[in-house]
Symmetry: C2
Subunit: 315 residues, 2 copies
C-alpha cells in the first residue's frame, strides 16, 4: 500500500478516492479538502474571525486545528451540557487543545447560565435528549458568535453527519429542513453566518487526522445519543458505502448540485410570509413571541422548582 | 395476537399499520389497499382491459389475482428471459395460474422473437443483466399492451420495490428518473398507460397473500440479480424499517405528496425540448434513430453471429 502522491508507504486508504496516503500527504489532503469546501461555498474570506464550536470530539478539534493551520483567526466555544462524566472529560480535551495552542476557549455551562442541563431539560420538555441538545446548542452558538463579534460560527459536521441528516430529511421529505440543509447559512438579522468546513471529509478521516496529528479527543459517543435515529441512518448509509464507495459523497454533493435549489425555491416562497421578531425574553429572532430555547429553559426551571414537592405528595 | 377487525386469532402482523389480521381480513386488507391505490392515482376505470405483466413470482401473481377479484378484465403477459431453470420454472407458475383461472397468458420468448436471451444480451452489450432485462421487458411490455389493445399495462412493483428505486434515485439525485417515478404513467403516443397497483403493499404482504390464497409462485430470486445495487438499497431500507416501522411508506408516499412535483416541473421543461420519433426498426418512440431495445437486439445478434469464428481465430 503506497501513497498515491509520493509512493512512500501509506498509513491510510481512502476508498472514496480510491487512493492510499502517507502521513504527510494524508494531512495535506485533509487541509486541502477543508480549504476546497471553504472556497467552493464561499464560507470565509481571508482574515475573518471564526468561532469554532468544539465538543472535545475528533471532528471539532480536527476542524479547529485545520482552520488554525490555514491561517484563520479562531477561538473555540465549548458548551457544558451536563451529561455526567462524558461532559467533564469532553471539556478537558477541549481545554487541553486550546491551552496547547494558546487560543481562547469560550465556555458556556448550560446549568450555570440557563439553569438546566440536557438530562433535566429533556425530562422537563418530554423530548428526546438529542432534540433538546440541538435547540440548546444552536441558541448558545448564535449568541456567543454575535456577542463576540465573530464573522462566522464553524461547526464540525462531517460528510457522514450531513449525509445522515440528508437521509433522515428525505426519508420524511421534510422540505423545510431540506431547503435549509446548506454548507453555509448566511448571516441575517439576529443570526451569525454558519459554516460547515468539514463536509468533504468522512468521520474516519477526521479520526485519523487527530491520531496522526497527536490530538487527544473524546472517543466515547454521547451516552444519550445511543440508539437514536441519526445513528441508524448512518449505519444504513455505511452499508451502502461499503459496497459502493463514494455513495455518501455523491448523495450529499449531488443534492447540493441538483436538488437543493428546488427545495429552497419552493420553501422560500412560503418562508417569505413568516415574519421573525425578537424573542420577548432573549431577543433572538423567532416566529413566535418567545423563542423555542427560552420556552425550553423556562419549562425546565419550572419543572425543577416543583419536582421535589410533587414527588413528596405522590409518595 | 388477535385480528384488529374481528378479534379472531390473527395469522399475520403488519407492523407498518401496527395491527394484526386473521386470514379473511388480511386478504381483504390486500384487496382494499390495491383498490385504494387504483382510486387514489386514477389508475383504472371500471371495465377497462388490463394486461398484467407476470414473472411467476409472488408480486405479479398476487396482483393478477386481486385485479380479477376486483372485477377487472385481465390477461397475463409472460416474457421468457432465457435464464436457465429459473425462467423455466417461473413460466410454469405463470401458466398454472392462468390455466387455473381460465385466463389468457400472452407469452413472448426473447430468444424466439428477438434472437437473444438475458445472459447473451448482457454479454453482448457489456451491461449488467438487470439493465438489459429492464430494457427488454419495457419494450416487450409496451408492444404487447399496444398490439392487444389493452387500456393499461400493470406491473407488480410493490412498496419495497418502489422505495428501493426511490432510494437509488435520490442517492444519485437522478432528477430525470425521479420525475418519472410515478405510480401511473399516462398513455402517450406509442406508449401504453402503465400502472403499479401494488404500491400500498410490502413484499412480505404479497408473499403472505399468495400463501393464504394457495397461489404457487417462484420463490427463488433471479440468480442474475444476486448482489445488485437494488438489493443493497432494499437491505439498507429494511434496517431503517425495523427500527421505525412505516419508514418506507412515509418515504415513498411523502415523495409523491411533497417532492415529486418539484422534479416533474423541473424535468418537464427540459423534456419538452426532446422530440420523440418512431424507431426506424420497430416503430417505438425514441429520441434517436433506432431505439435502445433494437440497438441491444442488433448487437446481440451480431456478437452471436461472429462469436464462433472469432474464438477460432484467437486460439
Amino acid at each position: 500500500m503506497k501513497c498515491r502522491v509520493c509512493k512512500a508507504p501509506a498509513v491510510i486508504d481512502v476508498r472514496r478516492h480510491n487512493a492510499n496516503f502517507c502521513q504527510p500527504h494524508f494531512l495535506k489532503l485533509c487541509r486541502d479538502q477543508v480549504g476546497k469546501a471553504i472556497d467552493q461555498f464561499a464560507m470565509l474570506s481571508p482574515g475573518e474571525r471564526v468561532l469554532v464550536a468544539v465538543s472535545g470530539g475528533k471532528d471539532s478539534l480536527a476542524l479547529w486545528d485545520v482552520l488554525l493551520d490555514l491561517g484563520y483567526e479562531t477561538d473555540g466555544l465549548y458548551v457544558g451540557l451536563g451529561i455526567g462524566d462524558y461532559s467533564e472529560s469532553s471539556a478537558d480535551y477541549a481545554r487541553a487543545f486550546a491551552e496547547d495552542r494558546d487560543r481562547r476557549l469560550v465556555e458556556v455551562d448550560l446549568r450555570e447560565t440557563h439553569g438546566y442541563d440536557i438530562p433535566t431539560g429533556a425530562k422537563s420538555a418530554r423530548r428526546a435528549p438529542c432534540s433538546v441538545c440541538g435547540i440548546s446548542k444552536r441558541h448558545v452558538f448564535d449568541r456567543a458568535a454575535l456577542d463576540g463579534g465573530y464573522d462566522a460560527l464553524a461547526t464540525g459536521h462531517n460528510l457522514d453527519d450531513e449525509a445522515a441528516v440528508l437521509f433522515g430529511n428525505v426519508l420524511r421529505w421534510e422540505t423545510e429542513y431540506l431547503a435549509r440543509q446548506q454548507p453555509v447559512l448566511p448571516a441575517r438579522d439576529g443570526f451569525p453566518r454558519k459554516i460547515k468546513p468539514l463536509i468533504r471529509l468522512g468521520e474516519r478521516e477526521t479520526a485519523a487526522y487527530c491520531i496522526l496529528r497527536g490530538i487527544d479527543y473524546e472517543v466515547e459517543e454521547c451516552p444519550m445519543a445511543a440508539g437514536n435515529k441519526h445513528l441508524g441512518y448512518k449505519e444504513a448509509l455505511n452499508a451502502v458505502e461499503t459496497t459502493s464507495p463514494g455513495s455518501k459523497q455523491q448523495f450529499y454533493f449531488g443534492y447540493l448540485e441538483r436538488a437543493a435549489a428546488l427545495f429552497t425555491a419552493c420553501e422560500g416562497e412560503s418562508a417569505d410570509g413568516i415574519a421573525l421578531a425578537p424573542c420577548a425574553n432573549c431577543g433572538a429572532p423567532t416566529p413566535g413571541e418567545v423563542c423555542a430555547f427560552c420556552r425550553l429553559a423556562e419549562r425546565a426551571a419550572r419543572t425543577q422548582a416543583v419536582a421535589a414537592p410533587v414527588r413528596k405528595a405522590a409518595s
